[in-house]
Symmetry: C2
Subunit: 305 residues, 2 copies
Amino acid sequence: MAEPERIAIVGMGLIGGSLALGLRRARPTLRIIGVDLDERTREQALEARAVDAATSLQDAALEVCDGVVLCTPAAALLEMLPGVSARMRPGALLTDVCGAKERICQEGARQDRVVFVGAHPMAGTEYRGFSAANPALFHGCTVALCPATGAKDPSAQRSALELVREIWTAVGAEKLLEVDPAVHDRAVTFASHLPYLAAASIVESLLSAGGDSLLARELAAGGFRDTTRLAGDGTVGGAAALNRFIPEAARALAGRIRALADQLEQDPSAALEKLVRLADERRRMRMPAVAAAGTTPLVAPLRSR
Amino acid sequence: MAEPERIAIVGMGLIGGSLALGLRRARPTLRIIGVDLDERTREQALEARAVDAATSLQDAALEVCDGVVLCTPAAALLEMLPGVSARMRPGALLTDVCGAKERICQEGARQDRVVFVGAHPMAGTEYRGFSAANPALFHGCTVALCPATGAKDPSAQRSALELVREIWTAVGAEKLLEVDPAVHDRAVTFASHLPYLAAASIVESLLSAGGDSLLARELAAGGFRDTTRLAGDGTVGGAAALNRFIPEAARALAGRIRALADQLEQDPSAALEKLVRLADERRRMRMPAVAAAGTTPLVAPLRSR
């Protein structure tokens, strides 16, 4: 595969900025156009040499790009997708990083000028903006990919998929998983969106605790910090709002918590038995190691696929 | 205050074991009796020189101790409290580490042979047993104290409170907060018990996801890991079961999650606005730093009070 020569990254926040920094290190000859509506962010990206050029979306030379990666929040991403694809070179790659894939991939499939391949890197932090961007953010992470289906040009489709795989492999992703968009959304419901909504609701509980809230904050230890850390990443909410599996799953979670409350009252030993079993299951789960961005090797080797 | 000469620690798991190791370092002349029903645990504690003697509860020379610290799971603690106090030297200190204080302190106040002072160190990990014990576990932590009220002997009461403060200060606690047991329990409802029950319920959701569960685990990133870490600590459940504020608070949390699910369906922009506000609030919360046990200084200075 020929190396891509030019790509545009739209949205230079934590994810887009980290992608630009990671690609810059791994592919020094690649030309990267950074697109952001915030002038200060564009300046920061240029100063950090994350991008070769930084522009607004209106001024971006999308037509010269081999690939465009949409890294804006979910709602904006859905809105800009048709306009962006219409300005791109026919057959080029359009991709994204949104945490919900079904609605985005449907929108991507409504045109056949470019090849839309949905992508979702399983990485992030609760910090936001280009100033939190880190070239090692995606090192070792898993990326879910939703290849285009039924497009007219199989060769363009193949090239687009190769290019998106090349992009994520270059920045250090360890595993690229091709999944159906709906299957992806059902899985992230449990892996990410429910934990996020629960974390946000616990923060809301604490804020509503009135006079107890100050002492509660004094007494909050690592357990509260970790359980609610995800609530600080407001961008997950945008993806959760696009995930059609969320309302039912969240109501089921609410039902589980209510049932546990009732059981703690009526049959505490059965409740404790269940909690101990869940604790054992949780400890047995193979979980990704604590992110050690900054200490992980910053080399992002091109892997053979 | 004279240094204590002998204390017994009942239950040599993560908390009891860490307390023994920390006291051993800070107070080399203190004699520590380690009590555990598991013979292998007693051997481990002796091998690690955490204790001077290790026995079963039945064989422990409680009558020679200036203080006894109960570090067993909540239900066992409540059950053994009367029998332990009856065997102790009159006027000595009996204390504990349970995460719920009202029921335990009520039980402690049902005798006046010894002075019961409730304590709750805000520290822990998801790992269990003496093999996870760490002399620095309490370094920098906050300890909630519930002093005895209405006991007959004010001087014994004063000495007991001084001794329990000495114990926690010696192992590095940074802040000792005297609180009413019910006020404590309301505060930990939000700081600890609700986050724990939500984490356990999210683990249960994932386990119940059937065919989606394997992909969900593949896609689980740091967010899931952190949100559910607390669920691995089954001992929190025992304390939550003794906390009379839990059922109502957990049902309110379930209501919040259900309302959020409904709002995401019916008025997603209002839901997102709320989630962004909660994310801002969460980021503004002063949270304890990531526990760096093993890298923190292991010196536990005696602070003047």
